[in-house]
């Protein structure tokens, strides 16, 4: 089972303006991913765009793998141009996984960050309390599918177009005050995840963050995607690759460098 393979597009839908759901049928036998893992994707055969792009898998069921993504630059534009029946090159599954929570847990998603948490929510059948924040309602994708997987969901938007008008950390803090024992899993923008990590640190509960980084290889070879992680030997932190040692890290070990 090679981690380098081609897959055929079986469905490619607009979920919202600027967001698409890509469903792929691998052209050979491939490994089944676990929640938190990701793939490197590349559409097209020319040298521009050059590198593959990292995407968490959204769903993996009856042999297909799907990705929920936002169209940003040339890489995602090339992917967005794929039609049903066309093929795409992938590497994966890559990276580590979310440590499976034994009981109830809190999931905090920032916008498209839901793409990474979705598989965890699915695997944890209803044991999650979801806190889901976005700039605006459009960023909260496939709400029905998501809500169906969780015990309860608290929603916020910066502009109040959906749920409460606030940052997601506000309701989270209120909830944590009463449920400080629950582990927290979060994926979203770096500033959001940092705020979530702080909130968890205050009440002393464990927090797992799924980090983003620019990636070239996705397999730990180029050292392009590193983040400083603290451990016993390196109290000041040491560079680890997000693609191989991560993308999921214990928030308390992450040295948050202000990514200009």
């Amino acid at each position: 089972m090679s981690k380098l393979f081609r897959a055929t597009v079986t469905a490619h839908l607009d979920v919202n303006t600027g967001f698409r759901l890509l469903t792929l049928q691998p052209n050979c036998l491939v490994a089944v991913p676990d929640p938190g893992q990701f793939y490197m994707l590349q559409a097209g055969a020319t040298h521009d765009p050059l590198l593959k792009r990292p995407f968490s898998y959204f769903r993996a069921e009856n042999g297909t793998i799907s990705f929920l993504y936002r169209i940003r630059g040339k890489g995602t534009r090339a992917i967005a141009a794929l039609r049903e029946g066309e093929t795409i090159s992938l590497i994966g599954p890559l990276g580590n996984t979310y440590p499976m929570p034994s009981g109830e847990f809190i999931a905090v998603a920032g916008g498209i960050g839901i793409a990474s948490l979705f598989s965890l929510l699915g695997a944890a059948d209803g044991r999650a309390v979801l806190f889901w924040g976005g700039r605006t309602a459009n960023e909260l994708l496939m709400p029905e599918a998501v809500k169906a997987l969780v015990g309860s969901a608290v929603i916020t938007t910066d502009d109040g177009t959906a749920g409460r008008k606030s940052l997601i950390t506000e309701p989270l803090k209120e909830y944590l005050a009463l449920n400080a024992h629950l582990p927290v899993y979060t994926c979203g923008s770096a500033p959001m995840m940092r705020a979530v990590a702080n909130a968890c640190a205050e009440v002393g509960t464990r927090c797992f963050v799924s980090l983003e980084a620019y990636m070239a290889c996705g397999v730990g070879a180029c050292l392009g995607c590193v983040v400083k992680i603290m451990d016993a030997d390196y109290p000041e932190g040491k560079y680890r690759s997000v693609c191989k040692d991560g993308p999921v890290f214990n928030a308390s070990t992450v040295v948050w460098e202000s990514r200009r």
Binding site: P49, L51, Y214, L223, G224, V227
Partner: protein, 304 residues
Amino acid sequence: MNPSLGVNIGGLILKNPVMTASGTFGYGEEYAEFLNLNRLGAVVVKGLSLKPKEGNPVPRIVETASGMLNAIGLQNIGVERFIADKMPFLRRFDTKVVCNFFGDTIDEYIQVAEVLSRTDGIHALEMNVSCPNKQAEWCVFGTDPKVLNEVVTSVRKVCRVPLIVKLSPNVTNIAHMAKVAEDSGADAVSLINTITGMAIDIRSRRPVLANKIGGLSGPAIKPVAVRMVWEVFNAVRIPIIGMGGIMNGADALEFLIAGARGIAVGTANFINPTATVDIIDELEQFLHDEKLSDVSEIIGSLRI
């Protein structure tokens, strides 16, 4: 019968001309699950220094048109841990192991070369005198003939295996630098290292890379690399390892025809982890199609 792909690069005997480019293949392990390392001419590992190196802050990489800029900052685990933790794995394979290394001082270069060339299972050393993505003054190693002569000569004295000098493309006359390396005792030269470049985020008005500048690699630089290999081929007698934007067999052939006896695959590994073995197959196919029995027949065969 199959054409023979074997080459001798200054005493380093390879089953085929295809190597990995330093820094793009980790320590070999990272790609072992994607391809059979036994098929490679050689594995060239990430640049090593005497002590472990932290490397640069992020962002360390950014994509450009048909290329990428990197400013990893030569992060590595240091020679000691490399020999203890990584060599046992590499020794298990029937391929040649080439250690890329560098130092902050000539003394460090000497010490690292001594340790590595004494290590069982290391078949050749490649000295990186370019490092376009560090601004320490020792960058001049690769761009100043006098300094280059001094460092290569001293390393040559202690190095017990074939010594490859990896040249920087950021020079006016690369043929001259290659000649200096040859006269200083290099058994081979490899080129090109990355070309120094920069990308700017126009909204923040900051360099995209934390290190400000980085090294350009990938298909974008291939025409420059092929030209330099050809210039060097016309200037020195020692073998050349060509690299710079090689993505497939046709690219590799351009370098061999220009005069490279070996070729290294770098950025291509990131996009296609099996690029190296695919290239070996394509070379074999090409020789077969052209009814050539030995790869040496095409090396330096440019018709002008």
